[in-house]
């Protein structure tokens, strides 16, 4: 199939061609296997005629459909494994080194852009292998899905910083290897199910850890406002979401290292990680007397650091709520390097550390948030039929999103980032708008 996609920008049209084939083998719903192969080529690749192949395969064994199965308590038990490859194309134009318009005094000029093209750019390849099982028991009272996975990303596509003295500040980086490992668990429960009261509960748990396993170039930063305010740094052997900043150097005993004139020696260190320890969600639906529905969904993110620069702006203007408190403490070597003590007001502590350490900005972004809550009432049919024969149903209610957030994080919202939702450099916060709380009132007629 040949496709041409147009974006709203003029002159931004890419052509790609792809084909796809898949075979499925199903033996009495006991063994189900699929095999697929996809081939892609695109003019975003350096070699426009090369076809990149992405195979995939999966196998599932539905044990409960076997003849020997005679356990009535377990409704369904299925084991599954899958392997698949996918590819991500480079951004449009990443293979070109170009000159862009730069005019002066009415004359038209061209200036080389600060992004060096990568002529032989190729797609990033992601290989995923996953395995798991699905089980449901006691006529749907409980069901559990469990999956572990490993994703390997080869020929990573990122934008890498260059030595600017080459004349270029960035180039598309198309090499190296990164690994993601994780686990996903989903538990569905129906603890109560009778005509007057139905309770459905859904609990999800997920956790991911990443590691840059191979990087043939020196470590580079992929987001942030410079090392002194915290940056995300891609470095071999480290988590892909590590946050690096400046910090005073310490010796093996944890004592501050100073230079010849007694000033602290400031070095770059890993000071945090944007990746959460784990995340969970709790969703519950209740239906009472067939007509009243109540539901809510909590989301819990445990761990995962955020670079809080909002607090810095408040501190500089002396308006932070805890400015005059002294409860915030830093390690001795940081106190010594910044000439502060544990009794210094919090706001002064943090501003004194500016340019000495980045540690004060890197804060725990854990939160428990009530994402959704809703209450609805459906008017019984017996009443509706008396009002009008044309109306089949009337339902009204109220709902809200982001109503409650509980977090140790010391700014508006640990969830928003100034750099948007991008792969790595999330969680950099400089007074963006927090997620909005929204309230809805619903009134619905069915005709």
């Amino acid at each position: 199939m040949r496709t041409g996609t147009f974006s709203p920008h003029p002159n931004l049209c890419t052509f790609s061609a792809e084909w796809f084939s898949q075979e499925e083998i199903n033996w009495s719903d006991i063994y189900v296997a699929t095999l697929g192969l996809r081939g892609d080529k695109s003019d975003r690749n350096g070699n426009v005629s090369k076809i990149y192949m992405y195979p995939k395969a999966s196998f599932a064994w539905n044990m409960t459909n076997e003849d020997f199965w005679d356990n009535d308590a377990i409704d369904n038990l299925k084991f599954r494994v899958a392997y698949g490859q996918t590819g991500n194309l480079a951004t449009f134009g990443a293979k070109f080194t170009s000159l862009a318009p730069s005019n002066i005094g009415g004359l038209g000029g061209t200036l080389v852009t600060n992004v060096r093209g990568l002529e032989n750019i190729k797609p990033e390849r992601q290989q995923e292998i996953e395995g798991g099982f699905d089980i449901s028991v006691a006529d749907g009272l409980a069901s559990l899905e469990f999956t572990v996975y490993q994703k390997k990303i080869q020929d990573m596509l990122l934008q890498r910083e260059l030595e600017p003295s080459t004349g270029f500040s960035f180039e598309s980086f198309n090499s190296g290897e990164m690994r993601n490992r994780g686990v996903e668990v989903s538990l569905n429960l129906q603890p109560v199910s009778n005509p007057d009261f139905i309770w459905n509960s859904n609990i999800n748990f997920w956790k991911n850890t990443s590691k840059v396993t191979d990087l043939p170039v020196p470590a580079f930063d992929v987001g942030g406002f410079g090392t002194s305010l915290g940056v995300y740094r891609i470095e071999e052997g480290k988590s892909a979401t590590q946050i690096v900043g400046i910090d005073p150097q310490v010796d093996d005993n944890g004592n501050l290292v100073t230079d010849g004139s007694g000033n602290p020696v400031i070095v770059n260190k890993k000071l945090g990680d944007g990746e959460p320890d784990f995340q969970m969600s709790f969703g519950n639906d209740f239906q009472l007397f067939k007509n009243l529905d109540f539901s809510f969904l909590f989301h819990w993110k445990k761990g995962g650091d955020v670079i809080n620069l909002t607090e810095l702006l408040f501190d500089l203007n002396g308006t932070t709520p805890d400015y005059d408190d002294t409860d915030l403490t830093f390690t001795d070597f940081r106190n010594e390097a910044a000439d502060i003590t544990d009794d210094t007001p919090n706001g002064v502590k943090r501003t004194s550390l500016l340019g000495v350490s980045t540690d004060q900005f890197i804060q725990d972004g854990s939160y428990l948030r009530l994402r959704e809550i809703g209450l609805y009432y459906s008017i019984p049919e017996s009443i509706i039929s008396k009002i009008s024969e044309g109306i089949r149903g009337i339902r009204f209610g109220a709902s809200a999103t982001n109503l409650i957030t509980i977090s140790p994080y010391r700014s508006y919202d640990p969830e928003v980032s100034n750099f948007g939702n991008q792969p790595i450099a999330q969680g950099i916060e400089v007074a963006p708008y927090p997620s909005s709380k929204q309230y809805y009132f619903h009134l619905k007629f069915d005709f």
Partner: protein
């Protein structure tokens, strides 16, 4: 009806299949296009036209202005002549002024951006040199025209190396290879950096000597009166005099470079070469112009000491700063004077002017002679 529709679809599929088969596999091949949005580099280096040279020259001149806002914040703040108050950017008043124990950070915008901008213009000049070389080899450009481009490009490179060196000083600069786009030279010592710049300027001056009466390209109105090989060379020699005083080569500045520059004690102090600004498309506005009464959180103000230390008859007090209705303060600093060096958003900004050359001469004379001899020198301009 449904049957008919399906039948129709199968005809469409059949026609498509015939089209695919009859055109072979061409429908699946993809054209290897060049960048549809911008001029592509390889094209300009290997197959340039004389008008490409013109746009590269203009782009090089335009690029000189790219990060001058940050450059001026750096030198103005560290030189204690002004403050740039920006409530959203604490590093202006912390890192740049060494507040408390804070130190300059090699990974922050104030150094990386102006440094990168200098090297981007150097890259553009190197591309210009390669493109002009191709044209000369193809017989499109005469040797004089080629020398004119070299004289311009090398002077621009030298100027940008010098701007980078004024940011890093003892830490030095790196040479950018002319043709290799992926590597960069070793870090040079300050003395070697200055030698590199001086050599480039001298090479450029030699090229300009052999460049005929006119350039094969146009320069903006910022180079008015300096837009021929002969007059551009006076600009080149002016920069060379600046480098000479950095090198403490007082005699060279006085005897070799200043006499060949446009120094003129009878001409206006402002005579010289400028960055020009305009509101035209893809052009820039003067980045240092701002409302001298702007709110504290986003203002450019003079350092109070600059006003306090001025002598009684220093007329700059009347034109370069404005007494503010309300003092501006941020981060424990304060100023009563709004910066008003540039009075509108298209005010030109000097690259080098007569005033500086006269001061270079005064400095070189003072360094060469005893300070006592200065009294007898004609310094009343």
């Amino acid at each position: 009806m449904k049957y008919l529709k399906n039948n129709f679809l199968s005809y469409v599929a059949l026609i498509c299949a015939i089209v695919v088969l009859s055109t072979g596999c061409d429908i699946l091949s993809i054209e290897d296009r060049s960048d549809p949005n911008n001029s592509e580099l390889n094209q300009i280096i290997n197959n340039p036209t004389p008008s490409d040279i013109n746009t590269l020259v203009t782009g090089t001149e335009s690029g000189l202005r790219e990060e001058l806002r940050i450059y001026h914040i750096n030198v103005g703040m560290i030189g204690r002549e002004m403050y740039r108050f920006l409530a959203a950017e604490p590093r202006n008043t912390a890192d740049l002024l060494g507040k408390g124990n804070s130190q300059l950070d090699a990974g922050s915008f104030y150094i990386t951006r102006p440094w990168a901008s200098c090297y981007s213009v150097i890259r553009n000049s190197n591309i210009l040199i390669q493109a002009a070389k191709t044209l000369n080899e193809d017989g499109v450009f005469t040797d004089e025209e080629y020398n004119g481009v070299l004289g311009f490009a090398k002077t621009m490179k030298a100027y940008q190396y010098l701007m980078a060196l004024t940011l890093t000083n003892e830490n030095g600069i790196r040479i950018q290879p002319e043709e290799d786009f992926s590597s960069t030279g070793d870090v040079l010592s300050k003395a070697d950096s200055e030698d590199l710049i001086a050599t480039l300027l001298d090479e450029a001056a030699t090229n300009l000597d052999d460049a005929g009466d006119n350039f094969a390209f146009s320069l903006s109105s910022g180079f008015e009166s300096f837009n021929t090989p002969e007059t551009f060379r006076e600009f080149n020699r002016a920069l060379r005099a600046r480098v000479a005083v950095y090198q403490e080569d007082w005699i060279g500045a006085l005897d070799d470079y200043l006499p060949e520059s446009f120094i003129n004690v009878n001409a206006p102090l402002g005579m010289g070469v400028y960055h020009v600004y305009s509101t035209a498309n893809n052009d820039m506005l003067n980045p240092v112009f701002s409302d001298p009464q702007a709110g504290s959180g986003d203002s450019w103000v003079a350092h109070n000491s600059w006003v306090d230390d001025a002598e009684n008859n220093d007329e700059r007090i009347d034109v370069k700063v404005v007494l503010r209705d309300e003092a501006a303060s941020l981060d424990g600093l304060s100023s009563d004077y709004g910066l008003f060096v540039y009075q509108n958003q298209t005010a030109p900004m000097p690259i080098i002017r007569n005033a500086e050359l006269i001061l270079i001469r005064a400095e070189a004379l003072a360094q060469r002679n005893n300070a006592g001899d200065l009294v007898s020198l004609p310094l009343n301009y």
